[in-house]
C-alpha cells in the first residue's frame, strides 16, 4: 500500500464526497502523512496473525 495514487485532485474529490473542502496546504500535509503511514500500515497488516480478533474501544480489565 502506498500513497502514489493519492493526488491532490483525488484527495479533494474524496473530501468533497464527504462535504469537506480542504485547502491546498491541507492536502500537501495530508499527502505527506499518507506517504509515511500507508507503507507502515501495510507492514503491520502483513505482520498480524491471521486469526487475531480486534479489540473494541473498551479493553478488558
Amino acid at each position: 500500500m502506498s500513497a502514489d495514487g493519492y493526488s491532490h485532485d483525488f484527495l479533494r474529490e474524496l473530501a468533497g464526497i464527504q462535504g469537506i473542502a480542504p485547502t491546498a496546504s491541507d492536502l500537501e500535509t495530508v499527502q505527506m502523512f499518507l506517504t509515511t503511514i500507508l507503507p507502515a500500515l501495510a507492514a503491520i497488516e502483513a505482520s498480524l496473525p491471521p486469526d487475531v480478533v480486534p479489540v473494541g474501544e473498551r479493553l478488558p480489565a
Binding site: 473530501a15 496546504s25 499518507l34 507502515a40 503491520i44 498480524l48 480486534p54 480489565a61
Partner: protein
C-alpha cells in the same frame, strides 16, 4: 507547597480556604500574563466557593476541603465556557459540571479557572492560535508540551495546588515532564470522561497533574470510579492509593524498556534517566532490561485508530467551518478522514496483539520504566529536535514511541521528574499493569522520597 501539605494546613486551621485561594489568585495575576497557563480565571466564583467552604462544619469537610485547583479547558466546569482553546467553542458556556469536577467539588476543592490546552487537545505544543501559547516557566521561550500544556505550566509556576489534564497520546505525561512535575495517565476506563470534549473514545482519559505522586494519588482517588454518565468506565473498586504508598520497593520487579534508550533519544536525556533507574535499584528494586515488540509500531497503530475517531468527532465542523481551526489541527483531522476504513480494523487487531504481549510482560514485571520524552522542552516554533550530533527528528514524531505504547493498551503511566539538563526538566515514566495505578504511585512516591527533583521550581515561580 504540595497539595497534600496544603490540605493538611487547611485542615489544621493554619490557613483558611479564602487565604489559600487568594494566594493562588495573586500569583496568577502576577505570573499568568507571562506564562499564559490560564485561559479563564474565575476569581469571584473561587472566592465565593472558598467563603462557602469556610461555613462547612468540620465533620463534613472532604479530603480536598479548601484546596484550589485548575481544570484543563476541555473539561466542563458548570458556569464557565469550555473552549478547548478553539475558536469554534470560544463561547461554549456549559451549565453542568463534568463528573470529575463534580467529584472534586464534593471533596471540597475550589475551582480557580480553566487552563490552556492545545486546540481541541490535538497536539503536543499548547500553542493555540486563538488563545496564545502556554510558555514554559523554566524558559519562557520554550513550550510546555501538550496537549495539557497549561496544566504542566500552572503546576511549574505554582498557580494551583493541583490540576486536571487529559491524555489521548501523551497529553498528561508530556507536559508533566516538561514542567518538572508529576502527572499520571490512569488506566483507560478508570476515570469518567463525561462532560469533556472528546478526541478519541478508545484512548481518552482524564487524569491529574500535580507536584508529587502523593498529590496525584489523592486527586485520582477522588475522581476515579464507575460513572453511569460514561459507560466506558469500569465498575471496579478504587483502591486507597494513599494507604498504599508506603512499604518501599525492595524486591519490586522493574523492566527497563531498552529500545527507548537506544534510538530516537538525546544521549544526555538517556543518561539522566539511567541515573534515575539506578536510584530505583539502590532502593531495592530488581532491575532487568526488556524489549517489548509492540512498542516498535505502537505509534503508527495508535494513529490508525485515533485519527479516524477524532475526524468523526469533528466531521460537522470540518464541513461547516474548517477555516476556524488552526492549520495543524485541521490537517491532523483531515488525515483521519483520508485513512482507509480497513486501517481502523487493522489498528484494533494490532491493539489485541499488543495487549496480549503486555499482559505477559506484567507476569514478569511489576512496573516498566523508560524516559518520558527523548528531549528537553523545545523552543516555541521549533519543528525539529536535536537527538545528538547530526541527528534531528520532527518533534511530533519524536514523542510517539515514548507515549503511544501505553495509551494504546490503556495502561497507567506516570511521569515523574528525574533530573535536569541545563536547567530544563527530564522525566521518567513508570508504567503499571492495567488498573495497577497503586504500584505506579508507590514506585513514584518511593523515588520522590529519595530524590528532590520534584521539589525544584523555576526561578520565575520562586
Amino acid at each position: 507547597m504540595t497539595l497534600t501539605a496544603l490540605a493538611a494546613r487547611l485542615k489544621a486551621g493554619e490557613v483558611s480556604p479564602r487565604e489559600a485561594t487568594q494566594g493562588y489568585l495573586d500569583r496568577i495575576e502576577r505570573l499568568n500574563p507571562t506564562v499564559n497557563a490560564y485561559i479563564h480565571v474565575d476569581a469571584e466564583g473561587a472566592l465565593a466557593a472558598a467563603d462557602a467552604a469556610e461555613r462547612v462544619p468540620a465533620a463534613e469537610r472532604g479530603p480536598l476541603w479548601g484546596v484550589p485547583l485548575g481544570i484543563k479547558d476541555v473539561v466542563d466546569v458548570g458556569g464557565m465556557n469550555t473552549t478547548a482553546a478553539s475558536e469554534i467553542l470560544r463561547h461554549n458556556l456549559v451549565a453542568e459540571d463534568s463528573t470529575v469536577v463534580a467529584r472534586l467539588r464534593a471533596a471540597g476543592s475550589i475551582i480557580l479557572g480553566k487552563i490552556n490546552t492545545h486546540e481541541f487537545a490535538l497536539g503536543a505544543w499548547t500553542t493555540s492560535p486563538h488563545f496564545g501559547p502556554a510558555r514554559n516557566p523554566f524558559d519562557t521561550d520554550r513550550i510546555c508540551g501538550g496537549s495539557s500544556g497549561g496544566s504542566g505550566c500552572a503546576m511549574a509556576a505554582d498557580l494551583a495546588a493541583g490540576t486536571l489534564g487529559t491524555d489521548t497520546a501523551g497529553s498528561i505525561r508530556i507536559p508533566a515532564c516538561f514542567g518538572g512535575v508529576t502527572g499520571i495517565r490512569p488506566s483507560t476506563g478508570r476515570v469518567s470522561n463525561a462532560g469533556s470534549v472528546p478526541v478519541s473514545a478508545t484512548f481518552d482519559t482524564i487524569g491529574p497533574i500535580a507536584r508529587s505522586a502523593r498529590d496525584c494519588a489523592l486527586l485520582l482517588r477522588t475522581i476515579a470510579g464507575a460513572d453511569p454518565r460514561d459507560p466506558s468506565t469500569f465498575d471496579l473498586p478504587v483502591p486507597d492509593y494513599l494507604a498504599g504508598l508506603e512499604g518501599g520497593i525492595k524486591g519490586l520487579r522493574v523492566g527497563v524498556v531498552v529500545q527507548r534508550f537506544e534510538q530516537g533519544i538525546n544521549p544526555a536525556v538517556a543518561a539522566t534517566v539511567r541515573e534515575a533507574i539506578a536510584e530505583l535499584k539502590a532502593l531495592g528494586a530488581i532491575v532487568e532490561e526488556v524489549r517489548p515488540v509492540f512498542t516498535e509500531t505502537a505509534g503508527v497503530v495508535h494513529q490508525l485508530v485515533m485519527l479516524p475517531e477524532a475526524a468523526q468527532n469533528h466531521q460537522k465542523w470540518l464541513r461547516e467551518c474548517p477555516e476556524l481551526y488552526g492549520a495543524d489541527v485541521r490537517a491532523r483531522l483531515l488525515a483521519g478522514v483520508f485513512l482507509p476504513g480497513t486501517a481502523y480494523v487493522t489498528g484494533q487487531k494490532a491493539r489485541r496483539v499488543a495487549f496480549d504481549e503486555a499482559r505477559e510482560l506484567f507476569q514478569r514485571f511489576d512496573i516498566l520504566v523508560q524516559p518520558q520524552m527523548p528531549v528537553v522542552p523545545p523552543k516555541i516554533g521549533q519543528v525539529e529536535v536535536d537527538l545528538g550530533p547530526g541527528e534531528q527528528l520532527p518533534y511530533r514524531l519524536s514523542l510517539l514511541p515514548f507515549n503511544s505504547p501505553w495509551s494504546l493498551i490503556g495502561l497507567p503511566a506516570m511521569s515523574v521528574p528525574a533530573g535536569y539538563i541545563d536547567g530544563l526538566p527530564v522525566g521518567m515514566t513508570i508504567v503499571g499493569p492495567r488498573f495497577g495505578e497503586q504500584v505506579v504511585f508507590r514506585a513514584g512516591h518511593v523515588f520522590q522520597q529519595a530524590t528532590d527533583w520534584h521539589e525544584r521550581r523555576p526561578k520565575l515561580a520562586v
